[in-house]
């Protein structure tokens, strides 16, 4: 039923296309330029020097060496004999930072950048956990190596700008894709608004036609999913083929997240337009505000917020649709198996079903413009 025109409406909606397509392309191009100097180095180890003064913080020293171990080590420890030598290497740009282990752990860097942020994250993470680590190490010395391994994983997976260690830059692009998916809420919002006779004259005109409201909604929903999924695929294609971002072998799985993420965004938009009260612009502003809360809680603006939410309210963290989308993307990089990936998608699909069932129930009940 008039599916073609539903597609035309979305494809000619400049505001929607700007925020769903042009804006992410511009932003990803900006990311690419901003990170370009670090991209070359992102899969290379970060050269650092460690200066011990008085044998302080042996545990941290051990962790740093652990991070410099393995096939793709995060750190490369450059041996030095003195603080002076380390500072000379730092000034000459031969190393990125110097860890000075005194009473306090000090980090010396000469400029700002992604690699410097990673070093700072390592330092902060240890300080945050040091009391616990020391207690466990005293009580159970046999667990020291496990603690170090856990610490290593903790720094590698959970910290930094997105929590992905060497993959932080790619995580930024995943976060961007999560936002693109969820911007489908704009398309979903219109699907619902345009069938509510009390809100728009267009909806009133449709309501007096001999066509069932739910038939119109299903038609428009289908068009919105199709268009928005294509929009997100275009964003992925731009990242891969124009910017040359390497997503590895997981491209089909990334496309699947894009599709499910688009469903989540669109169904969220439908829900907001349906259950919120007031005029259209008030509902839209509220929806945008709630979306930004989701973005913030997912750590898209500042990763620390995500960590806070995760520790304070882990359930909320696990049901935030934007977090689930970005987690699904990130799990392709972090984990060897797809368990976490499919778990995120299944929860996401459950949320989509909930949003749609609630919306359908409310829309069906509202037979009149003033009900």
């Amino acid at each position: 039923m008039r599916f073609k025109y539903s597609l035309f409406r979305l494809l000619r909606d400049r505001s929607y296309l700007f925020f769903a397509l042009a804006f992410p392309i511009i932003l990803s191009t900006f990311f690419n330029v901003a990170f370009s100097s670090d991209i070359i180095n992102i899969f290379e180890s970060i050269p650092v020097a460690i200066v011990e003064e008085g044998g302080a913080h042996p545990m941290f020293n051990e962790i740093l060496h652990e991070l410099a171990y393995g096939e793709e080590p995060l750190l490369e420890i450059v041996p030095v004999t003195s603080l002076y030598e380390a500072e000379t290497l730092l000034k000459g740009g031969e190393i990125t930072g110097v860890f000075v282990l005194r009473e306090e752990i000090e980090l010396a860097v000469t400029r700002t950048g992604i690699n410097q942020s990673i070093l700072q994250t390592i330092s902060n993470e240890f300080i945050r956990r040091s009391a616990t680590i020391t207690d466990i190490a005293t009580a159970r010395p046999d667990l020291v190596m496990e603690i170090v391994a856990e610490m290593n994983a903790g720094i590698d997976v959970n910290q930094g700008t997105g929590g992905l260690g060497t993959d932080m830059i790619i995580y930024h692009f995943y976060a961007l894709l999560a936002m693109v998916c969820f911007m489908g809420s704009q398309a979903g919002f219109k699907v619902s608004i345009d069938v509510q006779a009390g809100i728009s004259p267009l909806a009133a005109r449709r309501s007096v036609a001999p066509t069932k409201k739910m038939a119109i909604v299903v038609n428009e929903f289908g068009a919105a999913v199709l268009v928005h999924a294509v929009v997100t695929f275009i964003s992925v294609a731009y990242l891969v083929f124009i910017l040359g971002i390497n997503f590895g072998q997981s491209l089909p799985l990334i496309m699947l997240v894009c599709l499910v993420g688009s469903l989540a965004g669109i169904s969220f938009g439908i829900l907001m337009a349906t259950v919120l009260k007031g005029k259209e612009n008030i509902r839209e502003a509220t929806m945008t505000g709630i979306s930004f809360v989701f973005y913030a809680a997912a750590g898209l603006f500042q990763s620390q917020i995500r960590l806070t939410v995760r520790s304070a309210a882990p359930i909320l963290d696990r049901i935030n649709p934007v977090t689930l989308i970005s987690d699904a993307f990130a799990s392709l990089v972090i984990y060897d198996t797809l368990d976490r990936y499919f778990q995120s998608l299944l929860i996401l699909l459950g949320i989509v079903a909930l949003f749609l069932v609630v919306s359908a129930a409310v829309l069906r009940r509202a037979r009149y413009a003033d009900s």
Binding site: M1, R2, Y5, F8, R9, L10, R12, D13, A197, S200, P201, L202, A204, R205, R206, S207, V208, A209, P210, T211, K212, R367, Y368, A369, D370, S371
Partner: protein, 310 residues
């Protein structure tokens, strides 16, 4: 009977928007719902269309009770909303085709109807234009085309000429009469008495949600005392003379304001000459003189105490 409304009541909390309103519309009529802004016209229309839930009363269309799910009734109704309701992202042709498609499933028939609707509202040459490229008048014509393309038996037009230039207004009014000639029964709401007088075969005056009076325009004018209103430009006249003019035969009110003497007379002969004789005899200088037959505004004024455009 095409439409039958009995004792309709619609409240918005404490406000009584439609107050025990009843009316009937026969096939082939152009019924005008005339009333000032806020008189309850649009609310009544929305109740007829089952867009609003009403508190009391019944609405029957084509002999059946109207409800939101009355699709067999809705297929024969065309609606032109007060606000322009078209998709900004679709062209003129696509908009009409979309809305016609909600009623007509047969593609060939629909295409034919869409072409006829475009011709009817004279939008040939604008088929590929987006609505934002159209002038206000053309946009209103598109709004009408979207409402009538499926050739409905009952057409409801809610203030379709608001903010339209005189040329487009005239075009729209002639179009409505043509639709009626083609067999459609029409409900036309407006607060412009001239439009209602021009096209409607029967008129209902509505105020505060109530049916104040109904009939043909001639019947409505017969219902009031005013048979003639005389306006005379006078630079200066005393209150004493004004009250004496008010006491002349057939005159039931006279007032002087803004250098104009306004005299309301009952129907009768020589009203104007007797007033002018009085002015001459009393050496009162006057220049322009205007004598008007009663208008629907006079009907409304006498029945409600307010002007139609208050």
């Amino acid at each position: 009977m095409v439409v039958k409304i009995d004792n309709l009541v619609k409240r918005y909390k404490e406000v009584l928007a439609v107050d025990h309103f009843s009316m009937e519309i026969k096939e082939g009529e152009i019924l005008g719902l005339l009333g000032p802004n806020g008189s309850g016209k649009t609310t009544t229309i929305n109740c007829i269309l089952a867009l609003l839930k009403y508190d009391k009363g019944t609405v029957e269309i084509f002999g059946q009770e109207m409800a939101p799910s009355s699709y067999n009734i809705k297929k024969d109704i065309g609606v032109v909303m007060q606000n322009v309701a078209v998709f900004d992202e679709l062209t003129v042709f696509e908009n009409i085709d979309y809305f016609c498609g909600l009623y007509i499933k047969d593609t060939a028939k629909r295409k034919k109807y869409v072409r006829e609707a475009i011709q009817f509202v004279a939008l040939e040459g604008f088929e590929k234009f987006l609505p934002k490229k159209l002038s206000g008048g053309l946009l209103r014509r598109l709004n009408i085309a979207c409402g009538i393309a499926h050739k409905p038996k009952l057409i409801i037009l809610d203030e379709p000429t608001v903010a339209v230039d005189p040329q487009s207004r005239d075009y729209i009014l002639k179009g409505i009469q043509e639709l009626n000639r083609q067999g459609a029964t029409i409900i036309y709401t407006s607060h412009y008495m001239e439009e209602v007088e021009q096209i409607c075969t029967r008129i209902i005056i509505i105020d505060k949600g109530r049916n104040i009076a109904e009939g043909t325009k001639e019947e409505l004018k017969q219902m009031i005392k005013t048979g003639e209103t005389i306006r005379i430009n006078i630079l200066d006249i005393s209150k004493e003379h004004v009250s004496k003019i008010g006491a002349l035969p057939n005159v039931f009110s006279a007032e002087y304001m803004d250098e104009t003497l306004v005299v309301h007379c009952e129907q009768g002969k020589h009203n104007l000459s007797s007033i002018l004789d009085y002015l001459s005899q009393n050496q009162i200088v006057y220049d322009r003189v205007l004598s008007e037959l009663p208008t629907l505004n006079d009907v409304f004024l006498e029945m409600t105490g307010n002007q139609l455009r208050d």
